[in-house]
């Protein structure tokens, strides 16, 4: 196990406490036929975590000092809060046993929206802890830390936490051992999402309980083929094919989106957010109007990242 080694650059600057702020993008998981094994990161939406080494906190522990933003009903008990659980898991992986951390969480995502609210907090916390101690862990290791939080809050599924941390599209190939396959959307192409979030919550655990335990073979073959087409569409940067593959799910707002020119539409995560895909931002505005309240967001190719760093 490693002992605490604060970021050498900060140490050189004589910093005693490190203030870090990380921003994490929202994720669209399930992605129609990619149910439970394919997710992607959406730019410009997400949670913020502010982190500092705090001498008043017991070594190896995390204090959640403040929760602000879209919801304040989250627990500040670090063992029952996504950011807290992920931060502690990351500290353990780093072998940090000599200092404690203070964490502020700003929620940019509503709970139960299907946009990976829990993963957004966990990703920000895991990346922040790794940053503050000199980036010793690679992204795949941070996904493992984030998964500890996901397992407790919404189920042992990596399709939100993996893209939240790694950016872009991520295919979950296996859990034992965790085997992640980033699917690179071509650098020279653009992908936008039109997101519609109705005003009600759809808690993941409740929604998952409503799923059938068996599915007909014919649906299995159909869904698998659409998932396969979805992967081909991502790798080839084909927004039209991507939209068609997504749309193999049935969605209420789908018709309006398709009529307005979207390439496809599905429910994100456990819902109720609906998502449509396009390749230009302006087209998204019209589609959004027809789908009622909506926002247009870009594919986030980077994942959770450091937003600002202040030493004091």
């Amino acid at each position: 196990m490693q002992s605490l080694r604060p970021n050498p650059r900060l140490r050189r600057a004589g910093a005693r406490f490190h203030l870090r702020r990380d921003f994490r993008s929202a994720t669209v998981a399930n992605l129609g036929p990619g149910f439970d094994f394919l997710g992607c990161a959406v730019d410009g939406l997400g949670d913020h975590v502010t982190l500092r080494v705090d001498p008043s906190v017991r070594a190896g522990e995390v204090l959640i000092s403040e929760i602000t933003g879209t919801t304040t009903k989250l627990s500040t008990n670090p063992l029952r809060n996504c950011a807290g659980i992920a931060a502690i898991a990351t500290m353990k992986m780093l072998g940090i046993r000599s200092v404690g951390l203070s964490l502020d969480l700003h929620k940019g995502l509503p709970l139960g929206s299907g946009l990976g609210s829990s993963a957004a907090s966990a990703a920000a916390a895991a990346v922040a802890v790794n940053e503050i101690f000199g980036r010793k862990l690679v992204r795949e290791e941070l996904v493992l830390a984030g998964l500890e939080s996901e397992a407790k809050v919404s189920g042992y599924h990596a399709d939100n936490i993996a893209p939240a941390i790694m950016g872009g599209f991520v295919l979950i190939r296996n859990y034992e051992p965790l085997d992640l396959k980033p699917l690179r959307f071509p650098e020279d192409k653009e992908l936008f999402f039109v997101l519609v979030s109705p005003e009600f919550e759809a808690p993941t655990k409740k929604m998952r309980a409503a799923l059938p335990t068996e599915i007909p073979m014919v649906h299995h073959v159909w869904n698998s083929s659409q998932a396969a087409a979805l992967v081909a569409a991502v790798l080839e940067g084909d927004a039209v094919m991507l939209g068609k593959a997504l749309s193999s799910d049935k969605v209420a707002v789908k018709k309006a989106a398709l009529e307005a020119g979207a390439f496809g539409c599905t429910i994100s995560g456990a819902g109720p957010t609906a998502v449509a895909v396009i390749d230009a931002a302006e087209k998204g505005e019209e589609i959004g109007e027809r789908m009622s309240v909506a926002c247009v967001k870009k594919l986030d190719k980077v994942g959770a990242r450091l937003v600002s760093s202040v030493s004091r």
Copy 2:
């Protein structure tokens, strides 16, 4: 509808009858998690069709004059023979109502091997008829003609006939309307298959009847994710990932193949042929020995083709 227009080049040469010979490669369908929607063509194995315009055959009809090769128990009734059905379907699509055709079929593939024996004959016949009348139909149209044969013989499935005609890997995205997505394996990379065909037949219709009608959701998700990984592996030319994805099926000879260095192993089609993948031919020989009787074949990137053309 078009009337008969023999290939103009042959007409210029004063040819009255056209002798055509087409070779068609075998196919590996189902491909583990790609069950029923993904297949690929294998080079150097397959059926031959020899075709000629025959004044003794009634206009718009096909006479099967000879069947040779690995099996002779096939019907020579063109309405009950894969090559005959596909040839007639192709003639209909071309609007050929003024001449009849004579067809010799040389079977290079055993029946019920899982290597798409019926599709091999249908593909050769469809491509041959299209060739003899000047290539008016595109490959996707020929797949439709071949599908008429498949529907009668082994079921309405395009995962053999599509790669048999188009070459390479083909993803079947939809049937109504038929929507085929060729998956291009990178030109600069190689892919080899080690094929083991036990000495018994596994008729497709019988094998399909043994399939479960429902599958557990958890298996659905697992299989879909492996299918998705398989597509990524093909497009990126990653033989190792391709092998791993294939192996998500359970196969008796699998262990021996993997121990000898194959990247993965599965049952082809309805079986009993087992197939392993590698990226170099010599490695295949060793794996083949361990899997008992086997042959090493290359991915066929082209599909059914004209082998020779004689005018007389």
